[in-house]
Symmetry: C2
Subunit: 386 residues, 2 copies
């Protein structure tokens, strides 16, 4: 019997903006989405069928999701792989990507070792559990070098750049736990590829150029301003990364381009900020693609429709406060600009509150697109405009 998509429920651990955009993609497919999130009325709540309130790693919450859903997935790495595995064994509900993939990715040292072992080019790294080990690794790599917490890093939290011997003790104290030191890659550009693992098929979306400040993604553009050979190599590396992971879904593969070569940085086992542009920029969005993969539908086309830029709307405030975005009527005067609001009631400095996307003509110049989206985004602010 052919599976009937419109009787299918997907449980998602996490109800943030990724859950919200998964909900927006689920509705046209006829999939019901059920999210879990510790915060009642989470960002995803208005766009999904229901929210279960509970911590990301709470086993009872995950069990409730599993009992009500035909498939389980997650949109946040804080989901607990052991709990997902136990719930899967108890309920039989398939989990995609595989919890083992989540476990591998949660520990940056384990992640990097697995990928290096598979022959994927990664920057040199050393485990660092003590100040002595840190100093030994720094002696080997020189300055600057990047100290990364093995667990729980996110949007630059858990990463400290060590620029000189004076930084060492503070950096070690800031990480406060098991870490790895990574050689600093003097990259020319950061790139990202959304890689898709379907049921017996793989694909990659076109390469995205990602522009970070203070280690938080600000802006993306696709095509990336890299040459064809580099872009092709980026997709190759992303496909190789898929082979190390198990279970279906989309994976955000972050890369460095340095001296014409591609080095792996990290991978997220879920839709990723660097792929938001696919909503307007591709025939299939990363969110629809993730859902197709999780429920075992064929993957959609990953072809890019046109050059596309996106820009995050980050909290440009000094303190936590009720979210009041000004300037949307002005910004929406920009032809081909799309708004994506994440439904967060409070804003704080650098919080991801939404993003905007701008689609160019075929053959549009990425640099021009970036400048145009910058102009539109400057009209939007959470600061008081009275």
């Amino acid at each position: 019997m052919t599976p009937r998509v419109h009787e299918t429920t997907v449980g998602v651990v996490g109800g943030g903006q990724l859950g919200r955009m998964l909900g927006e993609a689920a509705s046209p497919l006829g999939l019901e989405l059920l999210v879990s999130d510790p915060t009642p009325d989470a960002p995803a709540a208005p766009s999904v069928s229901d929210q279960v309130v509970g911590a990301f790693d709470d086993e009872a919450t995950i069990r409730t999701l599993a009992e009500r859903a035909d498939y389980l997935t997650f949109e946040i790495e804080l989901a607990d792989p052991a709990a997902l595995e136990r719930v899967h064994e108890e309920t039989g509900t398939p989990v995609h990507p595989h919890p083992e993939t989540l476990r591998l990715i949660q520990d940056k040292l384990v992640q990097k070792r697995a990928l290096a072992d598979a022959g994927i080019p990664v920057p040199a790294f050393r485990p660092v559990d003590s100040l002595a080990e840190l100093n030994a690794a720094l002696a080997e790599f020189g300055y600057p070098a990047m100290l990364k917490a093995r667990q729980g890093g996110y949007d630059g939290r858990g990463n400290v750049l060590i620029e000189s011997p004076e930084d060492v003790e503070d950096a070690f104290a800031a990480i406060a736990g098991p870490a790895l030191l990574e050689e600093f890659v003097p990259y020319d550009r950061e790139l990202a590829v959304m890689a898709c693992q379907g049921d017996d098929e793989q694909d990659t979306f076109p390469v995205t150029e990602t522009i970070h400040e203070e280690e938080i993604l600000r802006t993306t553009v696709s095509p990336a301003r890299a040459d064809d050979r580099v872009r092709e190599r980026a997709r190759e590396v992303a496909t190789d990364v898929l082979d190390v992971l198990s279970g279906r879904g989309v994976f955000g593969v972050e890369l460095f381009e340095a001296d014409g070569k591609i080095l792996f940085n990290e991978v997220a086992p879920r839709p990723h900020n660097s792929g938001h542009w696919t909503i307007e920029g591709c025939y299939t969005s990363q969110f629809e693609q993730h859902l197709r993969a999780v429920v075992g539908l064929p993957l959609g086309s990953t072809e890019r429709r046109a050059p596309t830029a996106s820009k995050n709307l980050l909290g440009d405030v000094d303190t936590r406060q009720p979210a009041q975005l000004s300037g949307m009527p002005a910004a929406l005067q920009t032809d081909r600009l799309s708004m994506h609001w994440y439904g967060k009631h409070e804003v704080y400095p650098l919080r991801k509150m939404g993003h905007v996307t701008l689609v160019g003509d075929n053959g549009a110049d990425p640099t021009t697109l970036l400048s145009e989206i910058q102009t539109a985004a400057e009209l939007l602010t959470f600061r008081s405009t009275e």
Copy 2:
């Protein structure tokens, strides 16, 4: 102070597929949608913030919507203009389009007179309240001619083609109420234009060719296979229609192309089946455009991104039964095909259950696109495939 879109709630009378797709468009904009529908768990329910259960014309239901919303609109002509007006006066909640527009459109005779008076080309018509009046009008127009109920027609219901004198009595009995007789237009093609009335601005989406069978829309393609001059004239007529109506929103203007000329057929004061292709085919969908218009945001670009066809998924069953769509995994193998499921739990003959959209390359031939979407849609059925 700049209006803050993300604190805005729109109340929608009607929670069918149009409400559902309005909900899908509202979420990225940060608008909250609240629909009313007599059927609990209406099609729109999963994609909107909340549903009020109540009849479309129930004043208490409309008042509840108005009290909870910043703006009111409707996605079904069965909304009651008098109730909308009273609720507007009581609560101050703006209603778009204006209830007067709904009243004008609900009565096909009033609609046609208003448009004819404004100089819009319409087929000849005569009011018909008795068999004698019907026979007199038929003597004038000859056969065939179209008898239309003044009120309540929808998807061909309320329209009867009179092909010969033998049909006259049955047709009059079938309509069973005030009617109009319209001369039959030997059209070459049916066209539709989604016309947009914003706050002090107007626009039209590119012309759609609409293909009906048994007076139910089956397939659309844009660009329409009409020459440039005809397409331009169709947009002109649609813009003229806007000037007869009041209040903001999108309006589905249905037209005939006959002998190179454009004749007005009818107008719907809401997003329309003939505009579903804009979700993938344009930079702004008709649903986003309607919401932008209702809340007074600037209209989005109406530019077409690429040639696009859409095809309704109609109930291909003999009796009312639980909806079980087979073939989606196979259909979704088609690159650039998008599914839009309406969330209806039961299917009956010719019920609109969803639609699929296929986007072509720039310059794609509309006839080829129609044949490709037909091939994909044939994989989808509500009949048992056991």
